[in-house]
């Protein structure tokens, strides 16, 4: 394996001094945990696409009712049961205001002498589905976000206290959680809705009354795990106070999992709201949410499929995008999946 020793240029064998620090060069730029997580999230096309889609949906839920010339709850009986009609797109032969009447394909707008366009059609009371749809989205998202925020707040505090103080406090608090989680969520939600006046508040309370237990368990688990780790012990030996340990050492570590968990509570709250509306326990007319719109549409499916189609598609899109965002965040924030 020894090669021929060809002549090497003079000075090749001068001794040199290498600065030891040069060997310690850090070859990768140093990044904080969050920068790193963001980089990983950015690589996840599904999650990024979902974030954009979801942002658009949120914007539309506010802008939609405004750009539509009709109020969400305004009834124009003469304009009842109109199929969708959108200018420009109607030239493609879809969403052109045509519908099936008595087995024949006719332009319903012409028949009823309607001069204006309803982009997503109207329902049986002549209400504009476009503005109702976005108004309903607004309500559904509001319910989901508030419910998720309350779950998070109670869950983090409860779980944090239980895990951090441990001992008898933890024991007692966990017994309560154990019994609460034993009660099926579905049962609690239905019972609570029954005794309260139906409406947004009732749904939010019903969703959060046991919903927070999941979050509290996760937070407690994380706090238990981290509080016994060396960096916390080290900080304690250096005389750090409880609040410093909680805010500076535990919170940043628990935050990731709290965010991930919340990302999965939101779609489940959206689902439950829609579910309750579907079985008749949701918002009462004339208020609309995605769930009530789907319920209305379901009843008219055979004759007016568009009334079901738009809210169902939107609900599914919101659910899919939230699940993808949640998945993406989990992969980005979970150090176990790193590299």
């Amino acid at each position: 394996m020894t090669q021929n020793l060809e002549k090497l240029p003079k000075g090749s064998f001068e001794r040199i001094t290498v600065d030891a620090n040069q060997a310690e060069r850090i070859s990768k730029p140093s990044m904080s945990f969050w920068q790193d997580a963001w980089l990983r999230l950015r690589k996840n096309k599904g999650a990024i696409f979902s974030i954009i889609l979801f942002t658009l949906i949120v914007i539309m839920s506010f802008v939609g009712p405004m750009i539509s010339p009709y109020e969400p709850n305004a009834q124009t009986i003469t304009h009842a049961n109109l199929p969708p009609k959108i200018p420009v797109i109607e030239n493609l032969g879809i969403l052109d205001g045509h519908g099936n009447l008595g087995g024949k394909d006719v332009d319903i707008y012409d028949m009823k002498n309607v001069e204006v366009n309803y982009w997503f059609g109207t329902d049986g009371l002549g209400r504009d589905m476009f503005s109702r749809l976005w108004k309903g989205t607004q309500v559904s998202l509001f319910i989901a976000f508030v419910a998720a925020a309350i779950d998070m707040l109670i869950g983090v505090i409860y779980g944090g206290v239980s895990g951090y103080f441990g001992g008898r406090i933890d024991d007692f608090m966990q017994r309560i959680v154990e019994i609460l989680t034993g009660i099926p969520n579905l049962v609690v939600v239905i019972l609570f809705i029954l005794i309260m006046d139906p409406g947004i508040v009732a749904i939010i309370i019903a969703l959060t009354i046991t919903g927070w237990t999941g979050m509290s368990r996760v937070v407690r688990g994380q706090v238990l795990k981290y509080k016994s780790q060396e960096f916390v012990l080290a900080s304690r030996t250096l005389g750090a106070s409880d609040s410093r340990i909680i805010w500076k050492h535990l919170m940043p570590n628990v935050l990731g999992i709290v965010i991930i968990n919340t990302m999965f509570t939101i779609p489940s709250a959206i689902f439950f709201e829609a579910f309750l509306s579907f079985i008749g326990l949701g918002l009462q007319a004339p208020d609309a949410s995605l769930g009530t719109l789907i319920n209305d549409g379901y009843k008219l499916l055979q004759f007016q499929p568009h009334i079901l189609a738009f809210p169902a598609i939107l609900l599914s899109l919101i659910m899919i995008s939230f699940n993808l965002i949640g998945d993406g965040l989990r992969d980005a924030l979970d150090p176990k999946m790193k590299d």
Binding site: M1, T2, L5, L8, S12, R15, A23, S27
Partner: protein
């Protein structure tokens, strides 16, 4: 002595998100029948990757052979099909892993885990395989092997589990046994038992062993020959005495100086400065030069070839070039060299 395995100019890269990591950058060594070759080096030096590439156990999507060959039995292992490779794994070449706590299937009785390679590679009945397995367990020093066959891994201690893994690896009398840091995860007392067991077994079944470790104490105990790896290359290879008592490469000097011993107890322990090279962008020239106090101008430009020290001893450092200046190794290394006949500091006596 018969060469049983030849690794020639092996180059292997991992394709990662960040780019191509050149994990092995031209590795050459031969393995002789019945010997124990130790591969030492710090983490990331490529020692584990080298052996996993012999077994072809690296993830095929990301690990790519770039160059070179691995010759076993006249065949190049880098070019075999998966089917052919499966016939070699566990039969001709077998492997022991670092962590016995995780290397056994938790939901399968250990008896079945031992008989699995036997049934796979040999044409014998289940009951015969069971007998072989019981004999193997007895061979590796497991008391009451008949009773323990039906037990699950979690019912054994770490040391016992490593004995079971060894039993599995010996099930088909392999020609080569690769032990990837087999004692690192064990307590010191258990380490000694496992090392003794391996030495003992090697005498009995005459297999060649490639022993990967970063623990020089273990090397001195088990190895016939030693290969020192750094930055994806072998930088020095020789018999255990040559490496320990007549080392030539500054990295080997550093390794030996950083090994605590009773003689050096009162003096400060040596630490090699700096960190291993980033194999995403390996440095030009000698990868160790940046951390070496013996660096030469040429180290920055050209990769050193192997220089022959003796028939069995080679080192890749420009310091061995006839034109190179004479440098003084660290004191503790000179102390060692004084005992080695043939070294320039030899003062008589024997190792």
């Amino acid at each position: 002595m018969k060469k049983i395995l030849q690794v020639k100019d092996l180059e292997l890269s991992f394709n990662t998100f960040n780019g191509e990591v050149k994990a092995i950058r031209g590795v050459n060594f031969d393995l002789y029948k019945g010997e124990t070759l130790a591969i030492v080096g710090e983490s990331g030096s490529g020692k584990s990757v080298t052996t996993k590439s012999i077994m072809r156990l690296l993830p095929e999507q990301s690990a790519v052979f770039k160059n070179g060959e691995i010759l076993f039995d006249g065949r190049d292992l880098t070019k075999l099909s998966d089917k052919e490779m499966q016939k070699i794994r566990g039969k001709d070449i077998s492997m022991i892993f670092q962590d016995p706590m995780t290397s056994l299937n938790p939901t399968m009785p250990i008896g079945r885990q031992i008989t699995e390679p036997i049934l796979k590679h040999q044409k014998i009945s289940k009951s015969e395989a069971k007998k072989v397995a019981i004999d193997l367990l007895r061979l590796v020093g497991m008391p009451k092997p008949e009773l323990r066959m039906k037990q699950y891994p979690h019912q054994f201690s770490g040391g016992q589990r490593q004995r079971i893994v060894i039993a599995i690896s010996l099930a088909c009398n392999p020609q080569i046994l690769i032990a990837d840091e087999p004692t690192t995860a064990l307590d010191v007392t258990i380490q000694a038992q496992i090392l003794e067991l391996m030495k003992d077994l090697q005498k009995k079944i005459d297999t060649s062993i490639i022993f990967i470790t970063h623990d020089l104490g273990v090397v001195a105990n088990v190895a016939d020959r030693v290969a020192v790896m750094y930055g994806g290359k072998i930088v020095e290879i020789g018999t255990v005495d040559e490496i320990f008592y007549n080392p030539q490469h500054p990295y080997t000097w550093g390794l030996l100086s950083s090994m605590p011993s009773l003689d050096t107890a009162e003096s400060k322990l040596y630490a090699i400065p700096g960190t291993p090279p980033d194999l995403l962008a390996p440095p030009k020239g000698d990868a160790f030069a940046l951390r070496s106090e013996y660096a030469l101008q040429i180290d920055m430009e050209q990769n050193p070839p192997f220089f022959k020290v003796s028939d069995t001893h080679q080192a890749a450092t420009w310091l061995l070039h006839p034109d190179a200046p004479r440098v003084e190794p660290p004191l503790s290394v000179i102390e060692r060299m004084k005992k080695f006949p043939g070294s320039r500091y030899y003062e008589g006596g024997a190792v």
